[in-house]
Every structure is written in C-alpha cells, then in structure tokens.
Amino acid sequence: MTTVSPLHYLIVSAVLLVIGTLGVLLRRNIVVILMSIELILNAVNINLVAFSHLHRQVNGQAFVLFVMAVAVAEAAVGLGILIALFRNRGTVLADEMDLLKW
C-alpha cells in the first residue's frame, strides 16, 4: 500500500460523493444543503483530475475549471434565493418550504 494508484483517488471521490448526497437528502438547513452540493462537485473534480493525471492530458483539468465556474455561479444564485426566501418566509428549513407540495 505504499504506492497510490488512480483507484485510490476514485475511492476517496466516491466516499465524498456519498457523504455529500446524504447531506443533501438528510439535512433540513438549506445552508448546509448548499455546502453538501459543493462537496459533491468536489468529488467530481477529484475524479476528473485523477483521470487527467492517468491520461497525462490537461483536458480534464480544463473541465475542472468549468465545474468551478458553475459551482461559483450556483453558490451565488442559491444563496441569493436563500436570502430572498428567508426575507419572505422567515425560515431556512427545507421541509417548511412546502407551498408546491400536495
């Protein structure tokens, strides 16, 4: 176990993905749900960088940059929505936002 293969990176990435998914599904606080989405995106980034290293090409790293740009946009818009929601409803709990539920 002294050498690190790309499989190790895939396993770390998979565990991070599972943690992030459980965070999105389990938590009620929308702030923590958005943080969990960042964790999921980071799991994907680890995968992309590991394969980029495996193939000795930087295309995967270019893709990681795009993922980062989308993550920044997503965080900005998501937190803007969160502030607007808090102003209108007075809560940041996901399961209390149920106007569209039947």
Binding site: Y9, V12, S52, H53, A76, V77, L82, G90, D95
Partner: protein, 178 residues
Amino acid sequence: MLSAALFYFFSLLTLMGAILCVTRRNPVLSGAWLIVSLLGVAGLFLLVGAEFLFVAQIILYIGGITLLFLFVIMLVNLEGIVRVRQFRRSWPLVMAVGIGLVVEIVILLLRGRLPAEATTEASAAGNTEQLADVLFSSYFVPFELASVLLLAAILGSIWMGQRRPGRQAHSGAGERVE
C-alpha cells in the same frame, strides 16, 4: 512513500471535514469544516500535479464560496435553527437510498477497468502553461460562455437579493422560528 503518506493525510482531511461538515448542528461550524475538507481536496490536486487547480481551489472555493457562505450565515438569523431538529423525519428512506448508492458505486468500482496509465513523458511546459494552451484553443468558446454564465449569476443574485418595497406584505410571520 512520502507521497502515499501525504495522500492518506489529505484524504483523511477531506473525508473527516466532509463528515463533520454534514453533521454539525451549527452552520458556522459546518462552514469551518467545509474549509478543512476543501483544503484536503486542494492537497489531492497538488499530489497529482495540478498546481494551477490547487491555487484556484484555494482562491475560488476557500476564499470565495466559503466566505460567501459565512456572509450569508451572518445575514440570515440562524440562532433558532441550532435548537430545532437537524435531520429530516424520513431518514430511514434516505439511508436506504444511501446504501443503494454505496452498493452501486462499489459494483462500478469492482467491475470497471481502469485504462492503462499513459507512458508518455510529461511535456516540459508547466501545468499552468499547458492548461492555458488547452483552455484558449480547444475550449475557447466554452470559456467565453462561462463568463456569460458568471455575469448572469451576478445579475441574478443582485436582483434576488435586493429589497423590493411593496412585496413584503405577506412575510410569513407565523412560521418564524425564534
């Protein structure tokens, strides 16, 4: 040997930070553990030779996104949130979904076959130089589109964040968690 030790250290940082981020009751602590987790990911980037992404990860994620989270936590009153139930009531269903996801990923990792490691020697140009070459030749149009996306996100979040008089009439006062 040293790189293996560093790999396990950064992986531990990433996963421990992620678990603590998801389970903390106080969102400020969640944000702090998110920083630890993202630093671990940055270290993993450095280990596979993605120096530019290492720096971008620290500047963008830790300096940008996490700071944004902490600002929003300050703007939104979360004192009451700390005392209420943190997890959804339907957690057994969610755990079943999580176990399904784990099984799926394990099957994929066991059955999948990694391509052989490329033997071509890394080119003499540095990582940042190679990345810039690819980014401004093959991915030029997506690069410009990303800037349009960021502009749209800026305008959208400003528009949503502003206070509009006359729309505040039905603020859900009864559901306020204090």
